[in-house]
Symmetry: C2
Subunit: 297 residues, 2 copies
DNA sequence: TAAAAATACTCCATAGGTATTTTAT
DNA sequence: ATAAAATACCTATGGAGTATTTTTA
């Protein structure tokens, strides 16, 4: 008789295509996974994978079964989710992804707030760039993500939480620090310091500074705003900071001047996204409201 | 962690609403079912049923979960079905329902034919009236049914197999036996002998003999054509027989005369029906073809 | 008090671990 | 020759059975 355990193991194997690594992924030994798969193949009356050196390939039956198994597991996940959400808003396990330019400034306020307002909520947070978050969200590894909206993804639902305006950070001695409001067009490509490729903040800053040629930027490989700001404070250039980062006071360096742009200020919209067919929409709307309440201003 | 076993047990409990009888239905003891349900409720974090004297009632969460569980189990059944059907056409287990006015004349030819042509097929046959068959088919207890078409059911797919014309069976001495072709309008309500209510053959015969007032029919409570024919042979009246029943030679009684009606002969269409979303359509089309090949003429 | 579900306990089937062998490139 | 999956064997978790108690109408 078919079991969900078998479906879980098999979908992992279908993704990883390697018995050993799939076993590790589901937290069992390789022989245990081999056994379960053998039982499943006996049950279904046909091979699901072709054993090759260097791993496994799915048979045509295997891909069909993998597709259906994924749907079934998603339906089971939804069933559990509805049940949990019935216990009250924002209770039960939620796995949340957050972009790096938001996480360090939002989470210190959001997490205590949620722990207080929703003690039944068990929140797991993962921090990485938008494209990875969207992939993991779509794959069901995350329940919701906090990113810059819109995502323009058919299968995801979105809820804006707050507007995050951009400010210019410049060394106190720099001509940019004297000028108020700041003028994006006066920023040179050689002085603009940005996070490495893949970070949405980089793309947003570039769309604000449209006169800057991305190819002429300095290659920094910086993965955190704190690093960039240290460079700015040391007089190495200027950067754009999201207001929420400034508001936390993390960058109150004496050597640094934070200057707003002219109205209408450039901004990005931070909000929540989740899979459209998720039965926990109510939870996610509540979560978005909590994010708005915790947004540093 | 949720298991399919729990879903299977719970959907049964949700149907029969009684721990003891649900346990019996799934073939385990009552305490075993209680345990599984308790685990499931712990898992989901809420009560699924309210324990009352005289049985159980579903909570609102319970009905939601039951609905989703049924869908999941159906999806699992489909997954298994596709897998089995990949092994070749008409292989694996198939549960087939057949109406009583067809079963005894079709099955003696169909079953050996299938056993020969599709040795991998494991066929379970159930015989009852159309309304019951449709209910069991919809509930997933049957995979396909052989009935008189059309059923006019949104969720079912149909495939006609053969045309079954009606013939008049009368005592050799009766005036009906002298007349050829037979004339439906000359049959009186007091002489027409039919199967009891619920049998589609009864309704079909009545639509052929539109001059007969159903309320004036004799109440026989007969559940088999053989019984009716015995009464006809004994001179108690006349009846309509499907050609397939006549063709098997089961009713070659000396005292009996079988007379065709004028062209175009009245007829019914016998065919197969199955759930539209079933992944075994290929199998059922093949089965319908086998039925056509085995139709007695 | 009678019917039904929950609890207590015992047993065994099976999922899973470790060690090893087989297989395929 | 090497990496990967299958097999062998052992352990332990948990599913299920019987007997019994608790609950509720």
């Amino acid at each position: 008789m078919m079991t969900l355990r078998q479906l879980r193991y098999f979908t992992t194997l279908a993704t990883v295509r390697h018995f050993g690594r799939a076993a590790e992924a589901v937290g069992i030994s390789q022989p245990a996974l081999s056994m379960q798969l053998r039982d499943m193949e006996t049950d279904l009356g046909g091979a699901l994978v072709e054993r090759t050196a260097g791993g496994v390939e799915l048979t045509s039956l295997g891909s069909e079964v993998a597709r259906r198994a994924a749907e079934i597991l998603a339906a089971v996940g939804d069933l559990e989710a509805v049940a949990h959400s019935r216990r009250g808003i924002l209770s039960g396990p939620v796995t949340l992804g957050v972009i790096p330019s938001v996480a360090p400034y939002l989470l210190p306020r959001l997490l205590p707030h949620l722990a207080d307002a929703h003690p039944q909520l068990s929140l797991h947070v993962r921090e990485t760039i938008t494209t990875t978050l969207v992939a993991e969200l779509s794959a069901g590894e995350l329940d919701a993500i906090i990113v810059s909206l819109p995502l323009d993804n058919e299968r995801l639902a979105e809820q804006p939480a707050f507007r995050d305006t951009f400010l210019l950070a410049a060394p106190r001695a720099s001509p940019h620090a004297k000028r108020k409001p700041a003028i994006a067009e006066l920023i040179g490509a050689e002085e603009l310091l940005l996070l490495e490729d893949g970070h949405c903040l980089r793309d947003q800053a570039l769309s604000v500074c449209q006169t800057v040629d991305p190819r002429r930027l300095r290659r920094l490989g910086a993965t955190s705003l704190a690093t960039i700001v240290q460079l700015v404070a040391a007089g190495q250039g200027v950067t754009l900071l999201p207001q929420m980062a400034v508001a936390t006071g993390a960058f109150s360096d004496r050597r640094l001047k934070i200057v707003p742009f002219a109205e209408p200020s450039p901004f990005r919209t931070i909000g929540l996204a989740w899979r459209k067919r998720s039965p926990r929409e109510r939870d996610f709307l509540a979560l978005a409201a909590a994010v708005e309440a915790c947004a540093p201003t």
